[in-house]
């Protein structure tokens, strides 16, 4: 089981990476942590003509606190994020999610940007980015732009990234004293992709919940917001929220679980998370 032959190019700068993407067009893939890409190449699920290694690009592996936002560079490794005091204090949802991602050796290499850019529907971080109302920071041939997480994830492994774009960072709002977060997933073995998972954020003010975002992963083609369940939960109606998942979600069958099992587990997670968010009410 070996990858088909490809060429290798090490990008010296962001501009260099974008130039290389333009030169090699559809045959090129960006190599960040490689923890999904190289597995896919080994299994020959993909056979690019060239890998553009962005690991040497300076400045993409930093975590900064900036005016109400935390900016996490695309090349920040999962293990680096897991040990970051800034993330632990200001982005507790991601801090809760990180230990669920794969295993130590994979977290040492895998990057935050790689996980977001790949947009695996069963992955934790895309759901967290949507739950947090975060943004993707992208540089392309025409310069830099930001895309809201709600508009970034388009479909199965499809994002707002164009063929010559590089995801350089994600930005997420800093948690306040009113912020509440919940994270839970169900998987057969530790570190596996979840059969179904749920990332949530909400605000609590004067004992009232508001701005709830319930974002499921592993249950559709991309991170899925359960908007009707959110509306029910704002009113404190947990059972109604669980029932509303019938409208919100369209679970699929696969080798791990049937759609019906996923639908049931989605309700189990919602009940768990509702209690976690509550602390104050419900």
């Amino acid at each position: 089981m070996k990858p088909a032959a490809f060429a290798y190019a090490k990008a010296r700068s962001l501009r260099d990476a974008i130039t290389l993407l333009g030169k090699h067009k559809k045959g090129a893939r960006l190599l960040a942590g490689g923890q999904s890409l190289i597995a896919a190449l080994n299994m020959r699920l993909d056979a690019p003509s060239v890998l553009i290694d962005i690991n040497g690009i300076e400045g993409l592996d930093e975590i900064h606190l900036k005016k109400g936002w935390v900016e996490i560079g695309a090349l920040v490794r999962h293990s680096q994020a897991l040990h970051s005091p800034i993330i632990a204090k200001h982005v507790p949802l991601i801090a809760k999610a990180l230990p669920h991602i794969a295993h130590p050796a994979i977290r040492n290499r895998g990057t935050i940007g790689g996980s977001i850019a790949l947009a695996d529907p069963a992955a934790e971080l895309p759901a967290c980015l949507v739950a947090l109302g975060g943004e993707a920071v992208i540089t392309g041939p025409k310069g830099k732009r930001t895309v809201k997480a709600d508009n970034f994830f388009k479909d199965l492994f499809e994002t707002a990234l164009g063929p010559r774009d590089v995801l350089t960072a994600i930005r997420v709002p800093v948690a306040s004293s009113e912020s509440r977060f919940g994270f839970a997933e169900i998987c057969r073995r530790r570190g596996d992709y979840a059969i179904v998972g749920l990332a949530t954020s909400a605000r609590v003010k004067d004992k009232e919940l508001s701005d709830i975002r319930l974002v499921y992963f592993g249950i559709g083609s991309k991170p899925e917001r359960a908007r009707k369940a959110e509306a029910a939960l704002v009113k404190g109606k947990i059972d109604a929220a669980v029932a509303a998942l019938d409208d919100d979600l369209d679970p699929h069958d696969d080798v791990q679980a049937t759609g019906a099992t996923r639908r049931y587990l989605a309700g189990v997670l919602l009940k768990r998370i509702a209690r976690e968010l509550a602390e104050v009410r419900l």
Binding site: P3, F6, A9, I38, A39, H103, A105, I106, R109
Partner: protein
Amino acid sequence: MSELSCAIMITVNGEEMRATVEARKTLVDFLREDLGLTGSHIGCEHGICGACTVRVDGTIVRGCLMLAVQCDGARVDTIEGVSDTGEIGDLQEAFQKRNALQCGYCTPGMLLTVQELLAKGGVPSREAIREHISGNYCRCTGYHAIVDAVESVAHARAGGKS
């Protein structure tokens, strides 16, 4: 600018060397086929089993999910290296003493993985040990003996009884 084969400079188990590698060659294939360091095993080749675990610049990685060409300028330690230096002598002895291996296929990866945990110092809980080795499959032991061995070495290194 982009090449099917690349020249790299790499330090393996303390020895600096130059090599020309195919871009598609994984680190573990390079170690086994080009350098004859067959202590790093190949199991699943897609990052699930942990048999190919090696250290790159001091942290453990999957040897099957990293390309040799990416290790240009890097320092790589394999089971041969950490055995020769004696770094994990106590762990190897504990694994033997407690029957923490049978067929031994997972053992090199398992040893490098637990060494990373123990190098942080302190005595991790059994739960933390299990969590840390969750990405290393062993189909013989049922893990219990491995956790016993790791725990005993942690106590011994911390100055207690094993």
